[in-house]
């Protein structure tokens, strides 16, 4: 029997520039992505897609769910934001954060999303307080682990401890493939070289990125140090973006490391930056899927194209289609291996 595999899908975040520029409305994106066969899993960011979120008017909700139904989408994940700094005068208290994220959890439940993505500003105590309601609603809380964080980051270790104690299927993690890259995407270098950034600086950024992979570090400190480097080598207005792209979205974690938390994985962000000749130049898609398949993960992998930060030429829909073609090829290969393994074993 063919093994059960992860399911593919897309997050509409992949099409942010098209949406932001007004080329597509939210509803247009839902339709277009379906026409291109980028499902079945549909992930949306609440505060991006729904005006008035977390309050979604009944009429908008009805039209959205009708589109989902008509186009054969399966809701995979609603992305919440843990906005602890909405107030200008102070950070929210724990009670306020529970209330703020709780409202988004209610919306996920009402719309029928099986997972709510949460972010690391939610402390273990906040997560623990949200779990009972998540269980009632049947919505799993998924803490995103995004570059440069790893399964061993102190705050992740604290959550792993909590999850062990709670032993609830409604408290889990969302790995982001961008935490496991092999280098900074070559398209970053190409774009910034074309903008006039010197080869010397780009080579130094590459060298320092490799060096970061050999030790633990604090993201904001390293972003600061990369900004300083870029400024000192004449990057001018490009310094901040270069630093954020290098340190903040290209992580160093080995793909196999995700195995440590696989039993708690409730959703996956299939982050990628580019597809060339049928390959992702820096995201080891096959190794990452291998970990998922070996641990029997059958949830969604949302394709999340993020090369648009610097690549303003490529079509995001084409990119996602090409990445999913690669994912399907990889999954077919892994399925064959498993069938062969079962026969011989």
């Amino acid at each position: 029997m063919a093994p059960t595999l992860p399911r593919l899908g897309v997050t509409l975040y992949s099409f942010t520039p098209d949406f932001h520029a007004g080329r597509y409305t939210f509803e247009d994106l839902v339709v277009r992505a379906a026409e291109l066969g980028l499902g079945p899993g549909l992930e949306v960011i609440g505060f991006q897609s729904f005006r008035g979120f977390p309050h979604v008017p009944a009429e908008i909700e009805r039209r959205f769910l009708e589109l989902v139904d008509t186009h054969g989408w399966e809701l995979s994940c609603l992305d919440a934001n843990v906005d602890v700094a909405v107030r200008a005068d102070r950070l929210l208290t724990e009670d306020e954060i529970v209330h703020y994220v709780g409202a988004q959890l209610e919306t996920a439940g009402r719309l029928g999303f099986p997972v709510l993505r949460i972010q690391n500003m939610a402390t273990p105590r906040v997560v623990e307080r949200l779990v009972p309601r998540a269980e009632q609603l049947g919505v799993k809380l998924g803490m995103e682990i995004h570059a440069p964080e790893t399964v061993r980051s102190p705050w992740v270790l604290a959550l792993r401890e909590l999850y062990e104690r709670l032993d609830s299927p409604y408290a889990g993690f969302i790995p982001d493939f961008g935490a496991s890259t092999q280098a900074i995407s070559p398209s970053v270098y190409e774009v910034y070289r074309a903008k006039g950034v010197s080869d010397d600086l780009l080579a130094e950024i590459a060298r320092r990125w490799d060096e970061l992979g050999t030790r633990t570090f604090e993201a904001h400190e390293e972003i600061g140090s990369f900004i300083g480097l870029a400024h000192s080598m004449g990057a001018g207005d490009h310094a901040v973006n270069l630093a954020v792209f290098a340190v903040g979205i290209h992580g160093h974690q080995a793909p196999e490391a995700w195995a440590e938390i696989m039993p708690s994985v409730v959703h996956v962000h299939g982050k990628f930056f580019d597809i060339r000749d049928g390959r992702e130049p820096v995201v080891p898609i096959e190794e990452l899927f291998r970990v998922l398949v070996e641990h029997g993960y059958t949830g969604y992998v949302s394709s999340e194209y993020e090369g648009w930060h610097w690549n303003t030429e490529s079509d995001a829909f084409d990119m996602v289609a090409a990445q999913q073609e690669l994912c399907r090829r990889v999954l077919a290969g892994l399925a064959e291996e498993r069938v062969a393994g079962e026969v011989s074993g």
Partner: protein, 132 residues
């Protein structure tokens, strides 16, 4: 992020006491108005005092100093705000260089108690709309 749209294309409108233009949020999602930490506007190289700027959104008009307490009033990501800037003598019809920097506090990125503040600058040369 998404800097190109900060100044709405074709939105610069001259009047005999100032000018207006559309301001978009250089971020991928809605943020509360309390997240706007600053807006700097220069027209043809000349700075407009920030306290004189007025920002209209969702049917309300605000001075920048009105915004910090408004953490429950949302700026939807697809909506332009209209910025009004007074200028003595008005803005003559024709081409002008508009230079806008907006600072946004990103409410879920906080390091050691300090939220990240993103600054995005957009410069566009536009020909004024008719105006009155």
């Amino acid at each position: 992020m998404l800097t190109e749209q900060v100044i709405g294309d074709g939105s610069l409108t001259g009047r005999d006491d100032g000018f207006s233009f559309d301001l978009r949020m250089p971020w991928y999602r809605a943020l509360p108005l309390s997240s706007v930490e600053g807006v700097d506007v220069r027209i043809d190289g000349q700075a407009v005092p920030s306290e004189e700027l007025r920002l209209s959104l969702n049917g309300e008009t605000y001075a920048l100093s009105d915004l910090p307490p408004l953490y429950d009033d949302w700026w939807y990501v697809a909506d332009p705000a209209t910025v009004w800037a007074p200028k003595s003598g008005g803005l003559a019809p024709g081409q002008h260089e508009l230079d806008v920097t907006i600072a946004l506090r990103i409410p879920y990125i906080v390091e050691s108690g300090h939220p990240l503040v993103m600054r995005e600058r957009c410069v566009k040369t536009q020909t004024t709309n008719g105006g009155s």
